[in-house]
């Protein structure tokens, strides 16, 4: 829904990495691997 979209846009950058929640190795790897698909 637009609200959910807005919420995600506020909380996450376009690569799916949270703006505020600390990230660990596994999540960062996850983000990087998703970037391959984005590419």
């Amino acid at each position: 829904s637009p609200e959910t979209k807005q919420h995600f846009a506020r909380e996450y950058d376009c690569y799916g990495d949270s703006y505020t929640a600390d990230v660990g190795v596994a999540q960062l790897k996850e983000v990087f691997s998703r970037m391959n698909d984005l590419e």
Binding site: D17, S18, Y19, T20, D22, V23, G24, V25, L28
Partner: protein
């Protein structure tokens, strides 16, 4: 000059081992000398180039192919004995002349590859001595080649072990690099996230202040 010694077991004397020494210049097709000995007597002869051409023509075989056959007959040790046959027949009073023939067997057929007359060598000592020396020289040469191959083997084995070590190190370095980079990335990234959290908190407070002040 090339030399080769091999054993033959003539059809007419299957129980006797004869030694055949072939001596030729670079190409067998230019003709070759034959020495045959049983370890006590010796006979010698020569197959000239013309003879080789004539034989090839008689058999309507291309000269090159014929010479290849001769190489297999005379120079290849360990060829299964059921492929080539040798035969001798002694002529003259005390076998001074010896008729030496060689043939190839194809299934139950066999066709003569060639033959020649060998003359007995009156004092064979030197010829037999030279034949044994030829074998010993061959052994020395093979030993040298063996040692060379052995050394090459050792060098290759060392190189292989070294490159495998380097590969192992490279794989480990790659894994360490990845771990190291993620560790650093996370530190920097979480710094920025903390900053964002702090800015969001400040912004929230500033907005509340602005709202209150406006009210």
């Amino acid at each position: 000059m090339e030399k080769k010694v091999r054993r033959i077991y003539p059809l007419s004397e299957p129980g006797t081992t004869y030694f055949l020494q072939i001596v030729w210049e670079k190409d067998l097709g230019t003709g070759f000398d034959v020495i045959l000995t049983d370890g006590q007597s010796a006979w010698s002869g020569r197959v000239p180039k013309e003879e080789i051409s004539r034989e090839a023509a008689d058999m309507e075989m291309e000269q090159k192919k014929y010479v290849e056959e001769l190489r297999k007959v005379f120079l290849t040790e360990g060829i299964p004995s059921n492929i080539y046959n040798f035969d001798i027949s002694k002529e003259g009073t005390n076998g001074d002349c010896l008729h030496f023939s060689y043939e190839k067997k194809l299934r139950d057929l066999s066709f003569r590859l060639g033959s020649l007359k060998l003359q007995r060598i009156p004092s064979p000592t030197e010829v037999i001595s030279k034949l044994i020396s030829c074998c010993l020289d061959f052994i020395v040469g093979l030993h040298a080649k063996n040692e060379h191959l052995q050394r090459e083997n050792e060098i290759l084995l060392n190189d292989l072990n070294e490159v495998q070590d380097q590969l192992q190190k490279c794989v480990e370095a790659k894994e360490e690099l990845e771990t190291e980079l993620y560790k650093k990335f996370i530190l920097v990234l979480n710094e920025k996230k903390a900053k964002i959290r702090n800015l969001q908190k400040c912004l929230k407070e500033a907005e509340e202040t602005a709202v209150k002040a406006t009210q």
